[in-house]
Symmetry: C2
């Protein structure tokens, strides 16, 4: 059997557009000699749909489009599509998240997702009823063990597993000759390798080839890396589709591989910085093109590293013709900041607008003269500068249809070292899930084949330049310490005691950081969507009350 | 048995503070002669905790505080507390949402919530494992059918019920002599009466008295109305605690009621506008006091109805000494707008700052002169005014610790008739879940005992006053039509066809409104938390992708 793996990039909700794409891929798969074309989870819906599936009209339209696709594909090629199904249970949610096998317009089998992830960015029990159990679908002499994404993720032995069912085991034990998993498995750093381990375990445990078909592309904050693959029963990788791009690839079973390499053959370790870079580039590109609302992207260039990296990534995502830099110096901006912004724009070959904010800040100060009489300049005055810049960027956005990219990093967002309605402005936050330390590493990666980001931007001490001689480190702990505490608190959910013990940092320092994180939830609730690249990003995957009191110990 | 119903207002996460409150109430209950003090769901945690319960250190501390409370209460009085419990299942989530019965420091019984709501604002399957089943807890000659919030909500006959279990039925059939439900049941308009119907059904169906103990208070966007009550086996209401405030009340069983009134005795219909008013007042008050971060609230007063109603509610919540109005006229502001703001401030007895924005707008225009050369004035220029005002309000907030209240209503938020980083600025959106039509009704209610909101504010045509002679109705459909379409689309999740058929409005009009709602999700994702008063508010209870394409039919 020749299986065509169709790693597509759908637009969430665009049932007709995604259906057209599926038809195109299915016809190409047929032309390549494929017997069976396999598409990712919730193929026509796109993942994640969230509350779209609560609309009955949407559910009906999904079925209509899916049946139409099944009828329009050549009768000689089978089709596996992810789709919605009415629940087979008498109670509970009304829908299943399902995988259908079609041939010649007929539905030959359906599998309902049994393990419904409901943690972090996943909310599937909000919308779906779990499938009861799994049995293979007979087709052309094979018995296909069809299952969906999370159904793979209960393989390992754990003291208290997330789920009681193990669909992969069940399918293997009920006579499957081939395992096919259709997924929409979001990317995070290091996830790729843990997924590979699971896939390899599933293949070797079951003694069956494992076909993994993953969605690619970014949908709002989630980035899907694709990286679909086939793993042979002995654990060797038979084929791997590219990461971060659409692809269609044929694989024939029985496999013709004659290699006698070890079980690790075919796996190549990816570079974390390459992954991070490629993920963010795809995230920007898809946000820009899928919304279809923008003419260009615009980035405020301060001369600092965050805006430089954001802008460089934007240029790689959209091309230099679609990116505009804006320099908005104040009276506190140093000459080198402006110069660094100019050098960056030159290196990226993008236009740089120069819009000084002194006049705007003076006008705001003047308007507030009476109200602020007798007070010392402080955070209020600093934020006026950030908000003047935010207002100018949004004016350009409104006037010319530009997408404003927010430039703040995860370390700043975490402790609230950012101005709400100021430098936090933007349709998309590119680095909001990247700690400051990783922003430097990413800048190094961007510069690896020649200087794009000016050297001085990489070496000078970070500063918001909102008052004379200000440095981030006047207010914040050193970024190496800050990042470590934040990672443990946010991503590992460790306590004050645990962090103190593990890092040796003073209790006072750690307590202060944790309190800052808690207190600034109100800013993050109004932040632009952050491209997610870690296991725990700010945004929908981390739900904390804005109003709360939390005592750390 | 004398049961003390302790309707408390906890702060989410404040384990120690809430424990102190519980101790205070328990001691008062004992002093009143109570045998058993009953507290709401997740008593010490506060509801909803969201991902706080993912932190093991928080879970450990909750147990520590709960056991300490149980030990510190007089041994003569029983105590029912909501709390966390380790899951009894071998797989799945690690925690139950539970109700404990304590006496003299001993745990005498525990019930685990069996029905875990996971829809709208509820995410309990994200954190909790469901209880298996329910049996009454024996105590002092009674058998208490203890259960939690949603456990009540599977009473009615439905074709496809949400849950397979019916804990109330199960408890009644296994010999309970008394049903006690501890809840954190959020308020929405009309919810109170539907809850009453359920409680009455549960009591009459089981033939048992039904004690309903609800949380009161607002936590971020959710408002809890309290309104705890006891319903007798014949359906009569034995006692009702007040709505929207803390209370402690004793009820003795067997009940001494000698009334022979019909089954509806004791129920009084509440006025919807009174409910809405009281809910929003509580929402503002609790946001302000529970964060503990603010000195006053500040509202930009445009002379329009939204800001007038917001400000009047703020004064009722915080008192006139804690509210500041700001008039920020532009060259497009009419004289009557400024006058109306002055009259409102006088009626409310609050200070009104006058900060004209002409200079700021001129400075922004000047800064953009080159960039905007040769373009027509339009939305970009209009938004500059809104953002100038937003910047000024935030400057006052930063300088003096004011809470900025956002004034936009649900109709505007829905279709994006609001400026992101402008008039959408604020820590809390007071009217973000109130349609324009209801804002007028609410204004009428506020004025019922004398004019607070100037008559002209109520009668003039709504205008954003961002260009000469602008009226909302230049851009938007009439609010009566808009609100009806929005309610059906957002709250009833009806389709284009269904709305067209039900309302008779033109397909073009309805399609345009639906497309506007979809397209403006990006603004709402960055909106201030909206106090929730409907069955479907913008915010965490309505999760839709920012990046999506949706074709309506």
């Amino acid at each position: 059997m020749k299986i065509a793996i169709a790693q597509i990039n759908p637009v969430v909700g665009d049932l007709k557009g995604n259906a057209d794409k599926v038809l195109d891929y299915a016809h190409r798969a047929y032309a390549m000699g494929g017997d069976l074309a396999v598409f990712p989870e919730l193929t026509l819906v796109g993942y994640p749909p969230h509350d779209l599936v609560e609309y009955e009209s949407f559910v009906r339209e999904e079925e209509r489009q899916r049946l139409a696709v099944a009828r329009l594909v050549p009768p000689e090629i089978g089709l596996i599509l992810g789709g919605l199904a009415p629940s087979e249970r008498r109670t509970g949610k009304h829908l299943h998240n399902s995988a259908y096998l079609y041939e010649d317009g007929e539905e030959l089998g359906v599998a309902h997702k049994a393990l419904l992830p409901t943690y972090d960015v996943f909310d599937e029990l909000r919308h779906f009823a779990p499938g009861f159990g799994c049995s293979p679908i007979r087709w052309r002499g094979d018995r296909i063990g069809l299952h969906i994404c999370e159904d793979l993720w209960n393989v390992g032995p754990e003291a208290h597993p997330k789920y009681s069912l193990n669909p992969v085991k069940e399918l293997a034990q009920s006579g499957a000759t081939l395992l096919i998993n259709i997924s929409a498995s979001p990317h995070s750093q290091l996830k790729l390798s843990s997924r590979d381990v699971l896939i390899q375990s599933a293949a070797t445990f079951s003694g069956l080839p494992y076909v993994f078909v993953n969605q690619v592309g970014a949908n709002t904050e989630l980035i899907f890396d694709g990286s679909s693959c086939v793993c042979l029963p002995d654990g060797r990788l038979a084929t791997r589709l590219p990461a971060f791009e659409e692809a269609l690839q044929l694989w024939e079973w029985p496999d013709s591989m004659s290699k006698t390499d070890g079980p690790d053959a075919g796996y190549t370790a990816r570079q974390p910085m390459q992954d991070l870079h490629d993920a963010l580039v795809l995230g920007i590109r898809d946000y820009f093109h899928k919304t279809g609302a923008f003419t260009k992207a615009v980035v405020g260039l301060s001369g600092g590293i965050d805006s430089a990296v954001t802008c460089a990534l934007a240029v790689r995502a959209l091309g230099p013709d679609r990116v505009v830099g804006v320099s908005m110096p104040s009276k506190f901006s140093s000459d080198h900041s402006v110069e660094d912004a100019v050098h960056l724009a030159e290196a990226l070959r993008i236009p740089l607008l120069d819009i000084p904010i002194r006049g705007v800040v003076a006008a705001v100060d003047q308007a507030l003269k009476v109200s602020f009489a007798g007070t010392e300049a402080g955070v209020a005055e600093e934020n006026i500068q950030a908000r003047a810049r935010g207002t100018l960027l949004m004016a350009l956005s409104n006037k010319y249809g530009y997408l404003v990219l927010a430039t703040g990093n995860k370390s700043e967002l975490a402790v609230g070292y950012a101005t709400l309605y100021g430098d936090m402005n933007g349709g998309l936050s590119v680095l909001g899930d990247v700690f400051k330390g990783s922003v430097y590493a990413l800048a190094g990666y961007i510069n690896k084949d020649g200087t794009v980001i000016p050297k001085r931007t990489l070496t000078k001490a970070p500063s918001a330049e909102l008052r004379p001689d200000q440095k981030d480190q006047d207010t914040l702990p050193r970024y190496e310490q800050l990042d470590e505490v934040l990672r443990r608190y946010i991503e590992e959910q460790e306590s004050l005691d645990e962090i103190g013990e593990a890092t040796g940092f003073s209790r006072e320092l750690v307590a202060r950081i944790l309190a800052d994180v808690d207190r600034n939830e109100y800013k993050r609730r109004q932040a632009a969507p952050c491209l997610r690249t870690s296991s725990k990003a700010f945004g929908p995957g981390r739900c904390l009350p804005v109003v709360m009191r939390r005592v750390h110990r």
